[in-house]
Subunit: 314 residues, 2 copies
């Protein structure tokens, strides 16, 4: 039986939680994401999107949890997409964190979804982008994307937000140095969590120094100390998020950044579609086995074959 | 001044080390890899390609080092491509390992090259594939690809070899369980390095158990204990590599596997070329900015634009 996408979308736009969940699953696991996104395309652009990233164990989930609760008190509708790394080498705290976040799940004004970062054909960033759109149409004022900032694909996910928060903890020392390589540049706000531990001042100083070294940054990202588990510093962090939003708007960056992201998204989807077409084309129209035999027996060479195929596809 | 590729290739085929180095660099960093690979295409297929993978700290470099030295004693020409993860979260032992390997570099029968796993347009696996071909044409009997088996791209690299060696050390416990997820399946030979440490028997038992659980494997991969730093077990490991080669040949898998890899390579390069064309097309022929404005102002939607572009490219 074919799912009635139109009906689900109608319910989504009316704020129905279970239709939202269903549509995110369909966008993630079926080929109907295009249909879904087209149907909601006139209801997009209202949510403010925040990325929360950092190494495992810095307390990203607790922080998200507290931010969500504060925003709920202000009567804001909030969505959370937690990108779980499924690498066998990742930590084991993820499930516990998710369970804690689920305590919020009885509230209709919060929507929480975990997504595995592996096994996505179009990559986790396109799966996340679809989910963000669906939550936007669902009426979220804020959408948080929480990712472990280890792999390239996690960084890609965070690039697709309005405000990126990089979470650190005191005593990371060498890790802060390591952050230099790539992640530093994308942080709009630094959070030093577990600020009741020794070494907060040093960590702040190190972030500060690294920021002074960075030449690409127009704006110096503020640093907020928090103790997420005790709800300390959360109000101030929300203020800093609002400040960043204001900064973006005042400097004509708010729409500009979104348009730049849209351009990247267009290109990405064009690429994905071309790859799918190429795959079909090679499977159907080509005696690829003959080509392989010919290369293998040195009758022809790799690039002659490749160029022949490409010319025929275009 | 345009580099004379033909001349370099001629010198490569005569066994000139510096031309080999130059060509690998050119293939890696310029758009001339196609030209290089075409010129050497009639001189490929002679090298036996071995992948060595495993978590950081298990002693992959030392093992490679010892294998190379043994094979040199048998008068075999050997190439080593060490894929260095450039992730900020990786260990720091890499440089030291590389320096040790460089001690071999005064020998004309050994060629060693490090490659960063990040920052490759076509991905590290295509850069490695080019380097393997160049070393093959250089006359290597054996080519080792050494990678840290953490990320997906490192696993992709190892998929492109004749024999995959997975290196473990005693007392990895949980890590061995983690290996189940993906890497286990690709190992043709298990090496338990640092076999003078406690827990070797248990590690071997665990590998054995996991292999019995695995349903996809036709052949049970042998397990070789070694103490790489003391040169213990290296001869036996070389025997096991030869056994695996024999096994491949006797079961018609040697050429079959290579042809399958060739098919994957063709498809990959076709994909890369299509992406490049699409990129050029969008940059040149499309008022992509107009499209962005139209989506942003909701005159049209994302997928209408994408489909229009795709249809025009094809």
């Amino acid at each position: 039986m074919k799912v009635n996408i139109k009906k689900l979308v109608k319910q989504l736009l009316n704020g129905d939680v279970s239709s939202t969940a269903r549509l995110i699953t369909l966008a993630e696991n079926s080929d109907r994401n295009e249909e879904i996104i087209s149907l909601i395309s006139h209801h997009l652009g209202n949510a403010y999107i925040i990325g929360i990233t950092g190494a495992p164990g810095v307390g990203k989930s607790t922080l998200t949890d507290k931010l969500v609760k504060k925003l709920r008190k202000k009567n804001k509708k909030v969505g959370v997409i937690a990108v779980d790394p499924t690498s066998p080498f990742s930590g084991g705290a993820i499930l516990g964190d998710r369970i804690r976040l689920q305590q919020l799940a009885t509230d209709d004004g919060v929507f929480i979804r975990s997504m595995a970062s592996r096994g996505h054909l179009g990559g986790i960033s396109s799966a996340t982008a679809d989910a963000v759109k669906i939550l936007d149409a669902f009426g979220c004022d804020y959408i948080f994307i929480e990712t472990v900032g280890v792999g390239q694909s996690e960084i890609e996910v965070v690039k697709n937000v309005d405000t990126t928060i990089l979470v650190l903890i005191p005593g990371m020392g060498d890790e802060i140095q390591a952050i230099k390589a790539g992640i530093m540049e994308i942080a709009d706000i630094f959070v030093v969590n577990k600020a009741d531990k020794d070494g907060v001042e040093r960590t702040i100083m190190e972030i500060d120094m690294l920021q002074n070294l960075s030449e690409n940054k127009k704006r110096k990202a503020p640093i907020q100390s928090v103790i997420a588990k005790d709800n300390v510093g959360i109000d101030e962090l929300i203020e800093k998020i609002d400040d960043h939003k204001k900064y973006l708007k005042e400097n004509d960056l708010f729409h500009d950044n979104r348009k730049k992201r849209l351009e990247i998204e267009i290109k990405q989807i064009v690429h994905e579609k071309l790859l799918t077409k190429a795959q079909e084309f090679m499977n159907e129209n080509y005696k690829i086995n003959q080509f392989i035999e010919d290369i293998y027996s040195k009758k022809t060479d790799l690039y002659s074959v490749v160029n022949q195929i490409v010319e025929n596809i275009l």
